[in-house]
Amino acid sequence: MSERGVHRVPLSVEAVFLTDGRLRPRFVIFDGARYEIERILSVATRRPTGIACIAPTEYRVTICGTEKKIYYENETGVWFSVKEGV
Protein backbone atom coordinates (compact mmCIF):
# COMPACT_ATOMS: atom_id res chain seq x y z
CA MET A 1 0.00 0.00 0.00
CA SER A 2 2.97 2.32 0.54
CA GLU A 3 4.78 4.26 -2.11
CA ARG A 4 6.26 2.10 -4.89
CA GLY A 5 5.39 -0.92 -2.76
CA VAL A 6 8.20 -0.38 -0.25
CA HIS A 7 7.45 -2.32 2.90
CA ARG A 8 9.07 -3.66 6.03
CA VAL A 9 9.83 -7.34 6.51
CA PRO A 10 10.24 -8.42 10.15
CA LEU A 11 13.49 -10.28 10.79
CA SER A 12 14.63 -12.78 13.34
CA VAL A 13 18.06 -11.64 14.52
CA GLU A 14 20.66 -12.86 16.98
CA ALA A 15 22.33 -9.88 18.56
CA VAL A 16 24.71 -9.08 21.40
CA PHE A 17 24.49 -6.32 23.96
CA LEU A 18 28.02 -5.03 24.56
CA THR A 19 29.09 -4.03 28.05
CA ASP A 20 28.64 -0.36 27.17
CA GLY A 21 25.01 -0.97 26.20
CA ARG A 22 25.47 -0.90 22.44
CA LEU A 23 23.52 -3.48 20.47
CA ARG A 24 25.32 -5.43 17.73
CA PRO A 25 23.57 -7.89 15.37
CA ARG A 26 25.52 -11.12 14.71
CA PHE A 27 23.22 -13.41 12.69
CA VAL A 28 20.06 -13.03 10.62
CA ILE A 29 17.77 -16.03 10.54
CA PHE A 30 15.85 -16.23 7.30
CA ASP A 31 13.84 -19.10 5.79
CA GLY A 32 15.26 -21.45 8.40
CA ALA A 33 18.88 -20.62 7.54
CA ARG A 34 21.31 -18.68 9.74
CA TYR A 35 23.35 -16.02 7.96
CA GLU A 36 26.39 -14.53 9.61
CA ILE A 37 26.80 -10.77 9.66
CA GLU A 38 30.40 -10.48 8.55
CA ARG A 39 30.93 -6.77 9.09
CA ILE A 40 29.04 -3.79 10.44
CA LEU A 41 29.89 -0.89 8.12
CA SER A 42 27.93 1.86 9.88
CA VAL A 43 25.34 2.48 12.58
CA ALA A 44 22.98 5.46 12.47
CA THR A 45 19.46 6.46 13.39
CA ARG A 46 17.54 6.72 10.15
CA ARG A 47 13.97 6.27 9.02
CA PRO A 48 13.93 4.54 5.62
CA THR A 49 11.73 6.56 3.25
CA GLY A 50 8.17 5.35 2.97
CA ILE A 51 8.33 2.93 5.91
CA ALA A 52 6.07 3.19 8.95
CA CYS A 53 8.49 3.15 11.87
CA ILE A 54 9.68 5.15 14.85
CA ALA A 55 13.27 6.42 14.49
CA PRO A 56 14.94 3.01 13.99
CA THR A 57 18.68 2.30 14.14
CA GLU A 58 20.04 1.47 10.69
CA TYR A 59 22.88 -1.09 10.52
CA ARG A 60 24.72 -1.23 7.21
CA VAL A 61 26.18 -4.72 7.22
CA THR A 62 27.70 -7.31 4.91
CA ILE A 63 26.09 -10.74 4.69
CA CYS A 64 27.61 -13.34 2.31
CA GLY A 65 29.83 -10.60 0.93
CA THR A 66 26.98 -8.29 -0.08
CA GLU A 67 25.97 -5.06 1.57
CA LYS A 68 22.55 -5.02 3.28
CA LYS A 69 20.70 -2.68 5.58
CA ILE A 70 18.82 -3.95 8.60
CA TYR A 71 16.89 -1.87 11.10
CA TYR A 72 16.14 -2.10 14.80
CA GLU A 73 13.13 -0.24 16.12
CA ASN A 74 13.78 0.42 19.77
CA GLU A 75 10.19 1.38 20.60
CA THR A 76 8.83 -2.02 19.54
CA GLY A 77 11.97 -4.17 19.84
CA VAL A 78 11.50 -5.35 16.24
CA TRP A 79 14.23 -5.97 13.65
CA PHE A 80 13.25 -5.50 10.04
CA SER A 81 14.56 -5.05 6.52
CA VAL A 82 13.04 -3.02 3.70
CA LYS A 83 11.79 -4.78 0.63
CA GLU A 84 10.99 -3.02 -2.61
CA GLY A 85 8.37 -4.24 -5.07
CA VAL A 86 5.02 -5.79 -4.23
Binding site: S2, V6, T45, R47, T49, G50, I51, I54, A55
Partner: protein, 413 residues
Protein backbone atom coordinates in the same frame (compact mmCIF):
# COMPACT_ATOMS: atom_id res chain seq x y z
CA UNK B 1 27.79 41.22 27.23
CA UNK B 2 27.64 39.18 24.06
CA UNK B 3 24.26 38.19 22.71
CA UNK B 4 22.70 34.90 23.55
CA UNK B 5 21.98 32.34 20.84
CA UNK B 6 18.49 30.93 21.23
CA UNK B 7 16.80 28.43 18.93
CA UNK B 8 13.10 27.69 18.87
CA UNK B 9 12.28 24.43 17.18
CA UNK B 10 8.69 23.66 16.22
CA UNK B 11 7.52 20.33 14.80
CA UNK B 12 5.41 21.10 11.73
CA UNK B 13 1.77 19.98 11.83
CA UNK B 14 2.94 17.59 14.51
CA UNK B 15 0.00 15.22 15.05
CA UNK B 16 -0.77 15.02 11.34
CA UNK B 17 2.90 14.50 10.41
CA UNK B 18 3.27 11.75 13.01
CA UNK B 19 0.23 9.96 11.58
CA UNK B 20 1.71 10.25 8.08
CA UNK B 21 5.03 8.77 9.27
CA UNK B 22 3.06 5.79 10.56
CA UNK B 23 0.93 5.67 7.36
CA UNK B 24 3.38 6.42 4.53
CA UNK B 25 0.60 5.83 1.98
CA UNK B 26 -0.99 9.09 3.24
CA UNK B 27 2.04 11.13 2.19
CA UNK B 28 0.97 14.00 -0.05
CA UNK B 29 -2.72 13.58 0.76
CA UNK B 30 -5.04 15.72 2.87
CA UNK B 31 -5.00 14.31 6.41
CA UNK B 32 -6.71 15.69 9.51
CA UNK B 33 -6.30 14.36 13.05
CA UNK B 34 -9.65 14.79 14.76
CA UNK B 35 -10.93 14.29 18.29
CA UNK B 36 -13.95 12.00 18.81
CA UNK B 37 -14.16 10.81 15.22
CA UNK B 38 -17.22 8.60 15.68
CA UNK B 39 -19.08 11.61 16.91
CA UNK B 40 -19.99 13.92 14.06
CA UNK B 41 -19.11 16.86 16.30
CA UNK B 42 -15.45 15.91 16.64
CA UNK B 43 -13.11 18.75 15.79
CA UNK B 44 -9.91 19.04 13.76
CA UNK B 45 -6.83 19.03 16.02
CA UNK B 46 -4.17 19.12 13.29
CA UNK B 47 -4.02 18.94 9.52
CA UNK B 48 -1.52 18.17 6.78
CA UNK B 49 -0.36 20.79 4.28
CA UNK B 50 -2.73 19.39 1.63
CA UNK B 51 -5.69 19.57 4.01
CA UNK B 52 -4.72 23.13 4.88
CA UNK B 53 -4.65 24.06 1.20
CA UNK B 54 -8.17 22.65 0.85
CA UNK B 55 -9.32 25.09 3.55
CA UNK B 56 -9.35 22.74 6.55
CA UNK B 57 -8.66 24.64 9.77
CA UNK B 58 -7.85 23.57 13.31
CA UNK B 59 -10.96 23.68 15.48
CA UNK B 60 -13.28 23.02 12.56
CA UNK B 61 -15.98 20.41 13.04
CA UNK B 62 -15.24 17.20 11.06
CA UNK B 63 -18.43 17.62 9.07
CA UNK B 64 -17.39 21.09 7.85
CA UNK B 65 -13.89 19.85 7.03
CA UNK B 66 -15.29 16.96 4.97
CA UNK B 67 -17.59 19.33 3.11
CA UNK B 68 -14.57 21.44 2.09
CA UNK B 69 -12.35 18.50 1.33
CA UNK B 70 -14.30 15.37 0.32
CA UNK B 71 -11.23 13.10 0.07
CA UNK B 72 -9.98 14.13 3.53
CA UNK B 73 -8.41 11.29 5.49
CA UNK B 74 -9.68 11.58 9.06
CA UNK B 75 -7.32 10.02 11.60
CA UNK B 76 -7.83 9.45 15.30
CA UNK B 77 -5.22 10.93 17.62
CA UNK B 78 -2.57 8.63 19.17
CA UNK B 79 -1.17 10.66 22.03
CA UNK B 80 1.20 7.97 23.27
CA UNK B 81 2.82 7.92 19.83
CA UNK B 82 3.17 11.72 19.84
CA UNK B 83 4.78 11.56 23.27
CA UNK B 84 7.30 9.05 21.92
CA UNK B 85 8.18 11.21 18.92
CA UNK B 86 8.36 14.28 21.14
CA UNK B 87 10.81 12.53 23.47
CA UNK B 88 12.97 11.29 20.57
CA UNK B 89 13.14 14.75 19.01
CA UNK B 90 14.13 16.29 22.34
CA UNK B 91 16.97 13.77 22.50
CA UNK B 92 18.22 15.21 19.21
CA UNK B 93 18.18 18.72 20.71
CA UNK B 94 20.03 17.41 23.75
CA UNK B 95 23.03 16.63 21.54
CA UNK B 96 23.62 20.37 21.22
CA UNK B 97 22.66 21.80 24.60
CA UNK B 98 21.41 20.85 28.02
CA UNK B 99 19.42 24.07 28.18
CA UNK B 100 16.17 22.90 26.63
CA UNK B 101 12.78 24.24 27.57
CA UNK B 102 9.74 22.45 26.16
CA UNK B 103 6.69 24.52 25.28
CA UNK B 104 3.90 22.09 24.67
CA UNK B 105 4.55 18.72 23.05
CA UNK B 106 5.88 20.04 19.75
CA UNK B 107 7.97 23.09 20.62
CA UNK B 108 11.21 23.69 22.48
CA UNK B 109 13.60 26.53 23.11
CA UNK B 110 17.24 25.55 23.02
CA UNK B 111 19.94 27.88 24.34
CA UNK B 112 23.06 27.18 22.26
CA UNK B 113 25.10 30.17 23.45
CA UNK B 114 27.70 27.87 24.97
CA UNK B 115 27.63 25.27 22.18
CA UNK B 116 29.27 27.32 19.42
CA UNK B 117 32.85 26.22 20.02
CA UNK B 118 31.97 22.58 19.68
CA UNK B 119 29.19 22.59 17.09
CA UNK B 120 29.59 25.72 14.96
CA UNK B 121 27.47 28.83 14.59
CA UNK B 122 23.88 28.90 15.88
CA UNK B 123 22.64 28.69 12.29
CA UNK B 124 24.81 25.65 11.64
CA UNK B 125 23.40 24.00 14.75
CA UNK B 126 19.86 24.85 13.62
CA UNK B 127 20.58 23.28 10.22
CA UNK B 128 21.97 20.14 11.84
CA UNK B 129 18.87 19.82 14.02
CA UNK B 130 16.59 20.31 11.04
CA UNK B 131 18.39 17.66 8.98
CA UNK B 132 18.71 15.15 11.81
CA UNK B 133 15.04 15.35 12.83
CA UNK B 134 13.97 14.69 9.23
CA UNK B 135 16.48 11.92 8.62
CA UNK B 136 15.89 10.09 11.89
CA UNK B 137 12.14 10.43 12.41
CA UNK B 138 10.60 11.49 9.09
CA UNK B 139 9.08 14.52 10.84
CA UNK B 140 10.08 18.07 9.99
CA UNK B 141 10.83 21.10 12.14
CA UNK B 142 10.97 24.83 11.58
CA UNK B 143 13.80 26.35 13.55
CA UNK B 144 14.00 30.02 14.51
CA UNK B 145 17.36 31.48 15.47
CA UNK B 146 17.58 34.71 17.42
CA UNK B 147 19.04 36.52 20.42
CA UNK B 148 15.96 36.11 22.60
CA UNK B 149 13.16 33.60 23.11
CA UNK B 150 10.28 35.69 21.78
CA UNK B 151 12.02 36.40 18.46
CA UNK B 152 13.28 32.83 18.15
CA UNK B 153 9.68 31.63 18.45
CA UNK B 154 8.49 34.24 15.99
CA UNK B 155 11.24 33.25 13.54
CA UNK B 156 10.21 29.59 13.65
CA UNK B 157 6.73 30.66 12.53
CA UNK B 158 7.98 32.59 9.49
CA UNK B 159 9.09 29.73 7.27
CA UNK B 160 7.45 26.27 7.32
CA UNK B 161 7.98 23.39 6.96
CA UNK B 162 11.55 22.09 7.28
CA UNK B 163 13.28 25.47 7.40
CA UNK B 164 15.66 27.66 9.39
CA UNK B 165 14.94 31.38 9.83
CA UNK B 166 17.21 33.92 11.48
CA UNK B 167 16.22 37.13 13.23
CA UNK B 168 19.37 39.04 14.13
CA UNK B 169 19.65 42.50 15.66
CA UNK B 170 20.74 43.75 12.23
CA UNK B 171 17.64 42.56 10.38
CA UNK B 172 14.97 42.75 13.08
CA UNK B 173 13.56 46.06 11.85
CA UNK B 174 13.00 44.66 8.36
CA UNK B 175 11.86 41.17 9.36
CA UNK B 176 9.90 41.63 12.58
CA UNK B 177 8.59 45.16 12.69
CA UNK B 178 6.27 44.99 9.65
CA UNK B 179 4.50 41.93 11.14
CA UNK B 180 1.15 42.22 12.93
CA UNK B 181 1.30 42.48 16.73
CA UNK B 182 -0.43 39.09 16.96
CA UNK B 183 2.76 37.37 15.80
CA UNK B 184 4.35 38.12 19.18
CA UNK B 185 4.14 35.43 21.82
CA UNK B 186 1.60 36.33 24.54
CA UNK B 187 -0.22 38.85 22.32
CA UNK B 188 -3.70 37.38 22.80
CA UNK B 189 -6.73 38.38 20.73
CA UNK B 190 -8.01 40.75 23.44
CA UNK B 191 -4.71 42.66 23.67
CA UNK B 192 -4.38 42.78 19.89
CA UNK B 193 -7.82 44.29 19.36
CA UNK B 194 -7.23 46.73 22.21
CA UNK B 195 -3.94 47.90 20.68
CA UNK B 196 -5.64 48.16 17.32
CA UNK B 197 -8.13 50.62 18.77
CA UNK B 198 -5.16 52.82 19.65
CA UNK B 199 -3.87 52.53 16.09
CA UNK B 200 -1.12 50.04 16.89
CA UNK B 201 -1.18 47.22 14.35
CA UNK B 202 2.39 46.17 13.70
CA UNK B 203 5.22 45.09 15.96
CA UNK B 204 7.15 48.16 14.81
CA UNK B 205 4.33 50.49 15.84
CA UNK B 206 4.26 48.83 19.25
CA UNK B 207 8.03 49.14 19.59
CA UNK B 208 7.84 52.84 18.73
CA UNK B 209 4.94 53.61 21.07
CA UNK B 210 5.41 56.06 23.90
CA UNK B 211 5.89 54.09 27.11
CA UNK B 212 3.95 56.36 29.41
CA UNK B 213 1.00 56.69 27.05
CA UNK B 214 0.87 52.93 26.54
CA UNK B 215 1.03 52.24 30.25
CA UNK B 216 -1.82 54.67 30.79
CA UNK B 217 -3.92 52.96 28.14
CA UNK B 218 -3.28 49.35 28.86
CA UNK B 219 -1.21 48.75 31.97
CA UNK B 220 1.82 46.61 32.68
CA UNK B 221 1.12 43.72 30.32
CA UNK B 222 1.32 45.99 27.31
CA UNK B 223 4.67 47.27 28.58
CA UNK B 224 5.96 43.73 28.61
CA UNK B 225 4.73 43.24 25.07
CA UNK B 226 6.38 46.49 24.03
CA UNK B 227 9.71 45.30 25.39
CA UNK B 228 9.29 42.10 23.39
CA UNK B 229 8.64 44.17 20.26
CA UNK B 230 11.88 46.06 20.87
CA UNK B 231 13.80 42.81 21.18
CA UNK B 232 14.31 43.28 24.91
CA UNK B 233 13.05 39.91 26.09
CA UNK B 234 15.56 38.74 28.70
CA UNK B 235 13.73 35.62 29.89
CA UNK B 236 16.04 32.66 30.07
CA UNK B 237 15.69 29.16 28.69
CA UNK B 238 14.93 26.89 31.61
CA UNK B 239 17.14 23.85 31.96
CA UNK B 240 15.30 20.63 31.18
CA UNK B 241 13.65 19.32 34.31
CA UNK B 242 14.00 22.60 36.20
CA UNK B 243 10.73 23.20 37.97
CA UNK B 244 8.56 25.87 36.48
CA UNK B 245 5.87 27.64 38.42
CA UNK B 246 2.31 26.81 37.46
CA UNK B 247 0.84 29.92 35.88
CA UNK B 248 -2.73 28.86 35.41
CA UNK B 249 -5.10 25.94 35.77
CA UNK B 250 -7.77 25.70 33.16
CA UNK B 251 -10.51 23.45 31.90
CA UNK B 252 -12.44 23.78 28.69
CA UNK B 253 -15.18 22.05 26.82
CA UNK B 254 -16.43 21.93 23.27
CA UNK B 255 -20.17 21.44 23.35
CA UNK B 256 -21.84 18.94 21.08
CA UNK B 257 -24.63 21.42 20.42
CA UNK B 258 -24.49 25.17 20.60
CA UNK B 259 -25.54 26.87 23.82
CA UNK B 260 -28.15 29.57 23.32
CA UNK B 261 -29.11 30.80 26.78
CA UNK B 262 -26.98 32.27 29.59
CA UNK B 263 -28.33 29.59 31.89
CA UNK B 264 -26.93 26.84 29.67
CA UNK B 265 -23.58 28.59 29.78
CA UNK B 266 -23.85 28.94 33.57
CA UNK B 267 -24.19 25.20 33.99
CA UNK B 268 -21.20 24.55 31.75
CA UNK B 269 -19.14 27.04 33.75
CA UNK B 270 -20.16 25.33 36.97
CA UNK B 271 -19.10 21.97 35.54
CA UNK B 272 -15.75 23.34 34.40
CA UNK B 273 -15.13 24.99 37.76
CA UNK B 274 -15.44 21.60 39.48
CA UNK B 275 -12.33 20.43 37.70
CA UNK B 276 -10.44 23.69 38.09
CA UNK B 277 -11.08 23.80 41.85
CA UNK B 278 -10.06 20.18 42.24
CA UNK B 279 -6.79 20.67 40.45
CA UNK B 280 -5.98 23.86 42.34
CA UNK B 281 -6.34 21.79 45.48
CA UNK B 282 -4.04 19.09 44.14
CA UNK B 283 -1.44 21.73 43.32
CA UNK B 284 -1.85 23.46 46.69
CA UNK B 285 -2.81 26.71 44.99
CA UNK B 286 -5.40 29.45 45.31
CA UNK B 287 -6.44 31.58 42.35
CA UNK B 288 -6.34 35.37 42.51
CA UNK B 289 -8.18 35.79 39.23
CA UNK B 290 -10.14 33.96 36.59
CA UNK B 291 -10.33 34.05 32.87
CA UNK B 292 -13.20 32.89 30.71
CA UNK B 293 -12.78 32.14 27.05
CA UNK B 294 -15.87 31.82 24.87
CA UNK B 295 -15.87 30.53 21.32
CA UNK B 296 -19.01 30.98 19.26
CA UNK B 297 -20.24 28.71 16.48
CA UNK B 298 -18.21 30.65 13.94
CA UNK B 299 -15.18 29.82 16.09
CA UNK B 300 -14.66 33.44 16.96
CA UNK B 301 -13.05 33.66 20.33
CA UNK B 302 -13.35 36.17 23.12
CA UNK B 303 -11.45 36.11 26.37
CA UNK B 304 -12.23 37.98 29.58
CA UNK B 305 -10.30 38.25 32.80
CA UNK B 306 -11.10 39.50 36.23
CA UNK B 307 -9.67 39.46 39.71
CA UNK B 308 -11.36 37.53 42.47
CA UNK B 309 -12.30 39.41 45.67
CA UNK B 310 -9.93 37.14 47.62
CA UNK B 311 -7.71 34.20 46.63
CA UNK B 312 -9.80 31.05 46.43
CA UNK B 313 -10.16 27.60 45.03
CA UNK B 314 -13.79 27.31 45.93
CA UNK B 315 -15.51 25.79 42.95
CA UNK B 316 -18.68 27.70 43.65
CA UNK B 317 -16.86 31.01 43.93
CA UNK B 318 -14.93 30.35 40.74
CA UNK B 319 -18.10 29.36 38.93
CA UNK B 320 -20.00 32.38 40.20
CA UNK B 321 -17.21 34.76 39.30
CA UNK B 322 -16.91 33.16 35.86
CA UNK B 323 -20.63 33.48 35.25
CA UNK B 324 -20.71 37.09 36.46
CA UNK B 325 -17.82 37.89 34.14
CA UNK B 326 -19.57 36.17 31.26
CA UNK B 327 -22.82 38.10 31.85
CA UNK B 328 -21.01 41.39 32.24
CA UNK B 329 -18.81 41.14 29.18
CA UNK B 330 -20.19 38.70 26.64
CA UNK B 331 -22.89 39.51 24.18
CA UNK B 332 -24.60 36.28 23.11
CA UNK B 333 -25.27 37.03 19.48
CA UNK B 334 -24.59 33.56 18.14
CA UNK B 335 -24.65 30.13 19.72
CA UNK B 336 -21.71 29.31 21.97
CA UNK B 337 -19.61 26.33 20.89
CA UNK B 338 -16.78 26.13 23.41
CA UNK B 339 -16.07 27.52 26.86
CA UNK B 340 -12.91 27.50 28.97
CA UNK B 341 -12.50 28.56 32.59
CA UNK B 342 -8.97 29.28 33.76
CA UNK B 343 -7.77 30.09 37.25
CA UNK B 344 -5.04 32.68 36.85
CA UNK B 345 -2.41 34.32 39.06
CA UNK B 346 -2.23 31.36 41.45
CA UNK B 347 -0.59 31.74 44.84
CA UNK B 348 0.68 29.08 47.21
CA UNK B 349 -1.94 28.19 49.76
CA UNK B 350 0.21 29.12 52.74
CA UNK B 351 1.37 32.45 51.40
CA UNK B 352 -0.18 35.50 53.00
CA UNK B 353 -3.28 36.83 51.42
CA UNK B 354 -5.20 40.02 51.43
CA UNK B 355 -8.67 39.44 52.81
CA UNK B 356 -11.76 41.16 51.55
CA UNK B 357 -12.87 43.36 54.46
CA UNK B 358 -16.54 43.19 53.55
CA UNK B 359 -16.74 39.43 53.06
CA UNK B 360 -18.74 37.13 55.29
CA UNK B 361 -15.97 34.97 56.76
CA UNK B 362 -18.19 32.75 58.87
CA UNK B 363 -20.09 31.77 55.74
CA UNK B 364 -16.88 31.42 53.75
CA UNK B 365 -15.42 29.16 56.38
CA UNK B 366 -18.48 26.90 56.30
CA UNK B 367 -18.30 26.83 52.52
CA UNK B 368 -14.61 25.94 52.66
CA UNK B 369 -15.33 23.03 54.96
CA UNK B 370 -18.18 21.83 52.77
CA UNK B 371 -15.99 21.91 49.67
CA UNK B 372 -13.18 20.21 51.49
CA UNK B 373 -15.55 17.35 52.32
CA UNK B 374 -16.62 17.17 48.68
CA UNK B 375 -12.97 17.16 47.57
CA UNK B 376 -12.22 14.24 49.84
CA UNK B 377 -15.15 12.29 48.43
CA UNK B 378 -14.05 13.12 44.91
CA UNK B 379 -10.55 11.91 45.69
CA UNK B 380 -11.89 8.64 47.03
CA UNK B 381 -14.76 7.93 44.67
CA UNK B 382 -13.99 9.86 41.50
CA UNK B 383 -15.30 13.05 39.99
CA UNK B 384 -18.80 11.74 39.38
CA UNK B 385 -19.42 10.77 43.00
CA UNK B 386 -20.82 14.02 44.24
CA UNK B 387 -21.72 17.04 42.17
CA UNK B 388 -23.93 20.07 42.52
CA UNK B 389 -27.49 19.18 41.48
CA UNK B 390 -27.21 21.94 38.90
CA UNK B 391 -24.68 20.08 36.82
CA UNK B 392 -26.52 16.76 36.91
CA UNK B 393 -28.99 17.74 34.26
CA UNK B 394 -28.06 16.40 30.91
CA UNK B 395 -26.44 19.26 29.08
CA UNK B 396 -24.57 19.67 25.90
CA UNK B 397 -20.99 18.98 26.81
CA UNK B 398 -18.34 16.58 25.62
CA UNK B 399 -14.77 16.72 24.47
CA UNK B 400 -13.23 18.17 27.59
CA UNK B 401 -9.74 19.48 27.58
CA UNK B 402 -7.85 20.32 30.72
CA UNK B 403 -4.44 21.73 31.07
CA UNK B 404 -1.91 22.98 33.50
CA UNK B 405 -0.31 25.80 31.66
CA UNK B 406 3.22 26.59 32.53
CA UNK B 407 4.70 29.75 31.13
CA UNK B 408 8.39 30.13 30.48
CA UNK B 409 10.14 31.31 33.59
CA UNK B 410 10.73 34.99 34.01
CA UNK B 411 8.41 36.09 31.23
CA UNK B 412 5.32 36.90 33.22
CA UNK B 413 5.54 37.80 36.85
Amino acid sequence: MTDRAILHSDLNAFYASAEIVMHPEWQGRPVAVCGSVEDRHGIVLAKSQQAKEAGVRTGMVVREARALCPDLIVAEPHYDRYMTFSRLVRKIYARYSDLIEPFGMDECWIDVTGSARRWGTPVEIAERIRREVRKETGLTVSVGVSFNKVFAKLASDLKKPDAVTVIARENMKETVWPLPVSSLLYAGPATVSRLERFGIRTVGELAAANEETLRGWMGANAMLLMRFARGEDLSRVMRDGESMPVKSVGHGITCNADLYTPDEVRRVLLELSQDVGMRLKEAGLLACGISVCVKDNRLECEQFMSSLPAPTRSRREIAEAAYALFCRRYEMVRGVRAVTVTAIRPVREKSERQLDCFGDYRKKDRLDRLESAVDNMTLRFGAAALRPADVLTNFKTQNRHSYLSVLPHGVVK
